[in-house]
């Protein structure tokens, strides 16, 4: 009997006998225990294979057991005993039952629980079915445990009569499920009575301890039992009383359950808080308050614009194209064209922006620097970067400017090789660095050069022919050292430019004198070509070419002004004029150059001036030079060949007249170090050094049979000056020799050198020629005189024999 419930297995043959025996037993038992036990129902289980065998105490004690509903087949053995195999699975016939059971309870709803419990195991315990555990459970999660508990209980109940634990029927505490009915407001307001009662303690699991304290009461018994067991085990081996037998336990078919949740997509987001980011955020916070005000205004204007054009996209740069859209057009077309135009617009906007122009400007200069790096470095007297790869000197030289004449290249090759070979023993020479030239200036004659007073890199060049027959268009350009290939500013004009000069007080003003006598003043800071001031409407404008312009700063102690600056010009109509910028150019004549009679000169007695038909009483002035220390005194050279010393105080008479030249005096310059010496050059091939008090020339040079167009003193040494005649450029060093020039640089055939200018802070010389090029030469290996700045050059010169003009 002990094994009877557990021996119910799948074999039906056993079933019947056991059933029967069981039945007999069970029923009687049932009879006893019905009062004790109640109905128990397992809780609702979702995964339930609900099986229960329900035995009602009211059931008649029939041989047959109507277990499952719908069971038809019955098997009877030879004795007529019903040996119908029990089904392994019984659906829950219990549906009706809860109502009955529950009706006795208060406030319970049938929906709350279904008396069924699932069993994964195939063991059928019909006797067990009689008892159901109805446990109090509120959630489905606990249902699993309930299954296990019921199983365990079922396991326990396998030996129900051995006093296993039985779940007792306890008071129901039914969990009220979410009510299906809609609660009305009154329902909510109603007071609901809920009765709570305490259940008895349910034991779900009890694992009795297998250890007993030695000091407890049962210790004695336990130890005795242990001893007995040991003896039993010992006796077991080889004992006939004990038979080994195998048993197989049914292992329940495990079921694997997998749960798969949705893939959790993870994204990493990071930001690096850089210093500038923080700075930007803080400054944006400060600006946001300002921006709010502005955006309010902007948005209102934009709102009015948008609906008119039906533009579906806000353009970052609103240009005129938007206004062209007519409201009658097909919307699609509008949008498509707008899309295309937007892109173009945006690209155009970029191209038109100021910043882009500026970037291009810088880029060009950077490129220039790359191209001209050795030259510019030599100019600025910086070390020249040399690329590590060796290149032949030819290639090296070929990498020079565009438009260079082949002969010059060869000459430079020779120079270059020469220089590389013997650095120490070669004499002073000019090394050509580069030349300012471009397509615009090709073919024009360079007539004047002037440095900017503030920016040592800015050079003004005037292009215009000297002779009357050769007159072409003219050009005034501003070149920068940083870009030798394209001028920064270009001021074209139909007349040739004959003089340029930068202002001292306002260094952005450039005065340009033209062949037709007009003077224009340009502001080089602005990029348009319109002059600021123009003298062409002035009634006192010059009638002949303006041969020289200079800005003079003069102390006007009487009027109380600090330093007033005015422009002085000399022109072929014989006037030296002073221009002052008030409202426009206001002219005032400083001097009218009159023709002087050569009465004192006996040689010229044949040519009696009186008898000549004088075309004008004025002598065309070619040049002037203000005394560096005393701006009241100035020298002026005329076409007659005379040099007059004049003063600003007298505008009728000359102070002195220096006669020495036989042709027009093209240039007069004071020595920057020695206040008494000045230099003049003329078309009679000669260069003459004068001393102020001496009316006769001090020294004269006739190096070639060419006209000397320009001369200039070196800013570094009082002995050095440069002269440009038609065929060559000469550098004279009076300290070294007064007979021969120190350096001679011969021009290419067909090109005349017309202007020279020294660079102020470097050892470089600028030479302009008749082809529109301004070449920059570096003076190399100049003899360094320790006393170059001396003012007593006279003593040196007087010490040597002075030449008389021949």
């Amino acid at each position: 009997m002990s094994g009877s419930p557990s021996s119910i297995r799948k074999s039906p043959s056993h079933l019947s006998s056991t059933l029967q025996s069981k039945k007999s037993i069970s029923f009687t038992e049932k009879g006893k225990e019905t009062l004790k036990k109640g109905y128990a129902g397992a809780t609702q289980s979702r995964m339930s294979v609900s099986r229960n065998l329900f035995i009602l105490p009211e059931m008649k004690m029939t041989e047959k057991m109507n277990i499952s509903s719908g069971k038809i087949v019955q098997v009877l053995d030879k004795n007529g005993v019903d040996v119908t195999p029990r089904p392994l699975y019984c659906p829950d016939p219990h549906a009706a039952k809860p109502n009955k059971l529950l009706s006795s309870q208060e406030g319970s709803l049938g929906s709350d629980f279904i008396a069924s419990y699932s069993m994964y195991q195939n063991t059928i315990n019909p006797s067990v079915m009689g008892q159901f555990t109805r446990s109090v459970l509120g959630s489905s999660t606990v249902s699993k445990s309930s299954i296990s508990t019921t199983e365990s209980i079922a396991g326990d109940l396998e030996e129900p009569y051995k006093g296993g634990k039985l779940a007792s029927f306890t008071d129901l505490r039914v969990m009220r499920a979410a009510p299906e009915t809609v609660l009305t407001k009154e329902d909510l307001e109603k007071n609901v009575e809920i009765l709570l009662t305490e259940t008895d303690t349910l034991r779900f699991f009890d694992l009795p301890t297998v250890m007993v304290s030695v000091e407890s009461e049962d210790a004695e018994k336990v130890t005795q039992r242990n001893k007995k067991y040991e003896i039993l085990c010992k006796n077991r081996l080889g004992n006939d009383l004990y038979v080994e037998r195998m048993m197989q336990t049914f292992n329940g078919a495990p079921k694997n359950k997998d749960v798969q949740c949705d893939k959790i997509i993870m994204e990493d987001q990071g930001i690096m808080a850089t210093t500038w980011d923080l700075y930007d955020s803080y400054s944006a916070l400060e600006l946001s308050s300002l921006a709010v005000k502005r955006s309010a205004i902007e948005s209102s204007s934009k709102a009015s614009v948008l609906p008119r054009e039906r533009d579906q996209r806000l353009l970052g740069s609103t240009t005129d194209k938007n206004s062209e859209a007519s409201s009658l057009m097909d919307i699609e077309n509008v949008i498509l064209t707008k899309v295309h135009e937007d892109e173009e617009d945006h690209a155009d906007a970029i191209l038109k922006s100021d910043k882009f122009l500026q970037d291009l400007f810088f880029m060009e200069r950077v490129i220039m620097e790359n191209i001209f790096q050795p030259k510019l470095a030599a100019y600025r007297q910086l070390p020249v970067l040399k690329e590590p790869e060796p290149e032949e000197p030819k290639e090296f030289l070929e990498g020079e400017k565009v438009g260079e004449v082949e002969e010059e290249v060869k000459k430079e090759e020779e120079e270059e090789i020469e220089i590389n070979a013997e650095q120490s023993t070669i004499p002073a020479n000019l090394e050509r660095l580069w030349s300012f030239s471009c397509d615009l200036t090709k073919g024009l004659n360079v007539s004047s050069l002037a440095w900017n007073k503030i920016n040592p890199d800015l050079l003004a060049v005037g292009y215009g022919h000297f002779g009357f027959k050769e007159q072409k268009r003219g050009l005034a350009c501003c070149w920068s050292i940083k870009n030798p290939m394209w001028p920064e500013r270009v001021y074209p004009s139909p007349y040739g430019v004959t003089a340029v000069d930068f202002s001292i007080g306002t260094p952005n003003l450039l005065a340009v004198g033209y062949y037709n006598g007009t003077i224009m003043i340009y502001n080089v800071q602005s990029s348009n070509n319109v002059p600021v001031l123009d003298s062409s409407e002035s009634p006192q404008k010059h009638l002949g070419p303006v041969w020289q312009l200079q800005w003079i700063e003069q102390d006007r102690g009487t009027t109380g002004d600090d330093k007033r600056e005015f422009l002085v010009s000399i022109s072929a109509d014989g006037r030296i004029s002073k221009w002052v910028i008030r409202k426009g150019l206001y002219c005032h004549d400083l001097m009218r150059l009159k023709r002087t009679t050569a009465g004192s000169n006996v040689k010229g007695g044949d040519k009696e001036k009186k008898g000549e038909a004088l075309l004008s009483r004025q002598a065309p002035g070619m040049c002037f030079a203000f005394h560096p220390k005393d701006t009241n005194i100035y020298l002026t050279g005329t076409e007659e060949g005379h040099i007059h010393k004049c003063s600003c105080s007298y505008n009728e008479q000359y102070l002195e007249t220096y006669r020495g030249h036989k042709g027009p005096v093209y240039k007069v310059t004071w020595n920057p170090f020695c206040p008494d010496i000045f230099l003049s050059c003329s078309a009679d091939w000669g260069v003459i050094i004068w001393q102020q008090e001496n009316l006769q020339p001090l020294l004269s040079f006739y190096p070639t049979t060419h006209v000397v167009y320009d001369i200039t003193w070196s800013p570094k040494s009082s002995y050095i000056f440069a002269a440009a005649n038609e065929s060559r450029v000469e550098i004279w060093d009076l300290h070294v020799s007064i007979l021969d020039p120190l350096i001679v640089n011969v021009a290419n055939p067909g090109i005349k050198f017309t202007t020279v200018l020294f660079a102020k802070h470097t050892d470089c010389l600028l030479v302009g020629d008749s082809d529109g090029q301004v070449a920059v030469y570096e003076l190399r290996n100049m003899p360094s005189a320790s006393d170059s700045g001396r003012g007593d050059i006279i003593n040196t010169l007087l010490g040597s024999k002075s030449n008389q003009p021949g």
Binding site: T274, D348, L351, N370, Q373, G399
Partner: protein, 99 residues
């Protein structure tokens, strides 16, 4: 309009200077606006230089947030790449220095 001709002239001059291999103007998305090289090269240069410019700018501003990057020059064995960066565009010129 005057501005535009000036820009065009300057661009043309730059392109014709000695040693200049290519000139590119790309907008902020890397789309070329004006270029003398082929499209694939342009896009490649634009993409790579854009990243480098951002890094360089970040470096400069990290040191001093009030400073900003104005020009970037990379000199390599074969040539020199010059970049003028801006918020909206990149002006890139590749030149072969004459030495």
């Amino acid at each position: 309009m005057i501005r535009k001709t000036e820009v065009e002239e300057t661009l043309k001059r730059i392109q014709s200077h000695k040693g200049v291999i290519g000139t590119m103007v790309v907008n902020a998305e890397g789309i070329p606006i004006r270029t003398t090289l082929d499209n694939s090269t342009t896009v490649q240069y634009a993409g790579l230089l854009h990243q480098l410019t951002i890094k360089a700018k970040s470096t400069i501003r990290d040191i001093d947030p009030q400073n900003d990057l104005t020009f970037l020059r990379i000199r390599s064995k074969k040539h020199e790449i010059m970049v003028a960066p801006d918020k909206e565009y990149l002006l890139i010129v590749i030149q072969n220095p004459c030495e």
